[in-house]
């Protein structure tokens, strides 16, 4: 007698894909909120950027506002400043994060309190850190007064300008402080999962300390570091509150310029504000898509993220 044994061939690891319609139904509520709030806002902004603002009597679609923005010599100054702040703060945060991740990896599990303290800035809003930077770095701030007390400077006026300055030092410091824990944690998870073991392999394969860093650590963390940096770049490029509080009045960063135009009492300035906003959105979207592509490519190559 023969017995036919049928099997679905499925186990816990190869659970069948529920299919797009089922997944679609499950995520529909969240997707709807995002689509209406974000997509709706983007569409409305896009229409206004094209000059469609019936409240101000503008009903003709035109690219003129984009042309005006791009033709404005201040646009490239603002773009330059925004790029400078984003790139500088992202690069500084990345370098510090690599160092911090290596230090934290070498700490034993009993140093959990260090990890906890390190993660605190993640929960603090950017605005709060910006205000803290003002209290510390402003000419009348904590450091200035301390320097005055110590006799290092004669008056508050001789304290170097660290906020609302042309180099955006206060802004960069705020972003670095805020973003270092985020990038560090992204790298740390990779280092903890495979990095430590790969470093041990490197040791037994005769790689010295520097060689291990350049040939093992950096390639291991590269996808996570790259993805995290692109996200940080996207955020710092598009954020307006920190440069609004800590930046100089001229030139402004693109987000501050967009906000000022948008909130201008003259409704006719709004389409240009929106146009700038859409240009920012394009750059930010490109960075986020690049981050996703990098992550996907790394996964395809079997790298741990």
């Amino acid at each position: 007698m023969t017995t036919n044994v049928t099997s679905t061939g499925n186990n816990a690891r190869t659970r069948p894909n529920p299919g797009l319609p089922v997944i679609g139904r499950l995520v529909a509520p969240a997707l709807l909120v995002v689509t209406v709030l974000f997509g709706g806002g983007l569409l409305l902004g896009f229409l206004q950027g094209l000059g469609y603002l019936p409240a101000a009597g503008m009903k003709v679609f035109t690219l003129q506002h984009f042309a005006n923005v791009l033709a404005d010599p201040d646009f490239f100054r603002s773009l330059g400043l925004t790029l400078y702040i984003s790139v500088t703060s992202t690069a500084a945060a990345a370098l510090i994060s690599i160092f911090m991740a290596l230090v934290l990896t070498s700490l034993a599990q009993r140093h959990r309190v260090v990890h906890f303290i390190f993660q605190i800035p993640l929960t603090v809003p950017h605005l709060v850190i910006a205000v803290a930077v003002v209290f510390m770095f402003a000419p009348t701030g904590l450091f200035s007064r301390a320097a005055l007390k110590l006799g290092l400077i004669n008056s508050s006026a001789s304290f170097p300008l660290l906020t609302n300055d042309s180099w955006g030092i206060g802004i960069v410091c705020t972003y670095v402080w805020k973003e270092v824990p985020f990038i560090t944690l992204m790298i740390l998870s990779v280092l903890r999962r495979t990095g430590v073991e790969l470093l041990e392999v490197g040791k037994t394969l005769k790689a010295g300390r520097r060689q291990r860093f350049f040939y093992i650590t950096l390639p291991t963390i590269f996808p996570s570091l790259g993805a995290a940096c692109l996200i940080v770049f996207a955020y710092t490029f598009g954020a307006f509150e920190v440069p609004f509080l800590l930046g100089q009045t001229y030139p402004m960063t693109l987000p501050v310029w967009a906000y000022k135009n948008y909130s201008d009492v003259d409704l006719l300035a709004r389409p240009e504000g929106i146009a700038i906003g859409l240009i920012i959105a394009a750059v930010v979207t490109t960075a986020v898509v690049a981050s996703q592509l990098l992550t996907k490519a790394a996964r395809r190559r079997g790298l741990v993220l």
């Binding site: 073991e197 392999v201 037994t204 394969l205 790689a207 190559r301």
Partner: protein, 343 residues
């Protein structure tokens, strides 16, 4: 190639010693196995030899030179880990050539040596293959090739076959044996699988609870275990007690001449391997028992037989014995191993 000598090594994590007073010598060109159950401290010993752990005391001598203070990259020993731990961002060729590259060898030399080792490990043609495109067995062979290409004095293998399926595992065992025979690299092989240790090595070191229990040839450990724990580890399951009197061991199951033992009157434990017990048809020979249960194991059948107050496990060729059936067991005296009394 070189000797490996471990002298009175003690290793611990925190305040807990994991390995105590461990000594072992692996001679030049020899393949030795460090055998023991999970948690016995086998990997700890290997990591100490590789330089990834520092022993609290004792000496590690690699190829005649003390290695205690040396960092891993300065030791003439390479370790192959339980997980393949290949660099996912490199292809096969780059992975294998990594160590040579770190040593600053020329591109030509690296290519030449990598090609040679690819052939030795049956990986020819896979040079440019990405790691995630390899099977488990291929990955393990790349991991082995990456270590072998450095021609270390000591090769340390930390259960490299444990994640492979049975067929692949057997193939890899044979491959490692062949490679070791060709290269004559002194190898210390860690495993918890007694069959693997017996098959692959010329010398086996059994580690139980952080201490060496017996070192010897595979046959010595299998047929002449030093104590009941060693016998148990190698599948021994038939233990009984008896008394020694004038060079003869008397037990209710067998009487054995034991001229080498001198503990007169002492109660001693003896063992016999399940495959050495004979089920006999002769009605007057052996001890009477009743079959409790049987278990078919392919080429053999495992039979549990209740004899007086003890259950004997017998491994016999395929049999049609049924539970409840009465049988007679013969315990050949030359197959009985009597353990000396512990002081």
């Amino acid at each position: 190639m070189g000797d490996l000598e471990l002298k009175n090594i003690t290793i611990g994590y925190g305040n807990t010693p994991v390995i105590r007073d461990f000594s072992l010598t692996v001679e030049n060109g020899q393949m030795a196995s460090l055998l023991g159950p999970s948690g016995a401290g086998k990997t700890t010993v290997l990591r100490a030899v590789a330089g990834l752990l520092q022993p609290r005391s004792g000496a590690i001598i690699i190829d005649g030179r003390p290695a205690n203070g040396l960092p891993p990259e300065k030791r003439n020993a390479v370790m192959v880990f339980q997980k393949t731990l290949l660099f996912p961002f490199m292809n096969v060729e780059q992975n294998i050539g990594f160590g040579l590259q770190m040593q600053g060898r020329s591109t030509g030399e690296i290519r030449r040596r990598v090609e040679k080792i690819l052939e030795l490990t049956e990986l020819t043609g896979l040079n440019r293959r990405k790691i995630h495109e390899l099977s488990g067995g291929q990955q393990q062979r790349v991991s082995l090739a990456r270590a072998l290409v450095l021609k270390p004095a000591i090769l340390l293998l930390d259960e490299p076959l444990s994640s492979l399926d049975a067929t692949l595992r057997q193939h890899m065992r044979e491959l490692i044996q062949d490679i070791q025979a060709q290269t004559r690299i002194t190898t210390l092989f860690v495993t918890h699988d007694q069959a693997e240790a017996l098959m692959m090595s010329q010398r086996v070191c059994l580690l139980l609870n952080g201490r060496i229990r017996q070192v010897g040839s595979p046959r010595e450990l299998f047929y002449r275990p030093a104590d009941p724990d060693v016998a148990r580890f190698f599948g021994g399951c038939n233990f009984f007690e008896g008394r020694l009197k004038n060079g003869v061991y008397y037990s209710q199951y067998a009487t054995v001449a034991a001229p080498g033992l001198s503990a007169n009157g002492d109660r001693l434990t003896a063992t016999i391997r399940p495959e050495d017990i004979r089920i006999c048809a002769d009605g007057n020979r052996g001890i009477t028992g009743r079959v409790q249960k049987t278990s078919f194991e392919g080429t053999t059948t495992r039979i549990w037989v209740q004899c007086q107050d003890r259950v004997f496990v017998v491994l016999a060729p395929v049999t049609d014995l049924q539970a409840g059936q009465s049988v007679r067991l013969h315990l050949p005296p030359d197959k009985i191993r009597i353990f000396a009394a512990e002081n």
